[in-house]
Amino acid sequence: MTAHFIPVKVHIKEQKQVFDRFGALWTPTQIVLDPDGEERHRIEGFLPVEDFLAQLELGLGKRQFQHQRFGDAERLFRSVCDEYPKSGGAPEACYWAGVAAYKNTNDPKHLGATGELLKTRYPDSEWARKASVWRH
């Protein structure tokens, strides 16, 4: 964890003002912040370990995407998509992996392939529906 993040624990009884500052509605909540304090990803509610790790990596990917480092973003999203395929975050990660690949190459084949992958692997997910417009 400390290899990738600077971890801060905020307890409701000790720092309620920090809850209010970041709009934390419930516990547990985890928020990934950029160095400028911008929120890049939010996880609300308890998750099993695999799901939690997938969400952390998804957050790292979103951060790279936001900074237009699309190759790094795709690698992180693809890792979640492939390494945690049963996690709740996997369909979203697969979707963003496709978007990052497209942004990195400007080749729309990545979007089409992502639409097909999501239709095959996660046909009932909202991410498959979002990607349905990319399928030919």
């Binding site: 600077i6 801060v8 934390a24």
Partner: protein
Amino acid sequence: MPQITWQKDVDAALTQSRASGKPVLLDFSAAPA
């Protein structure tokens, strides 16, 4: 599994974040310490 050293000061962590380039992970908890 290595022990995580959690900080408590968000703004100090953001200062470290700017120096290191690593993002901050805020963990909001109500669990007993």
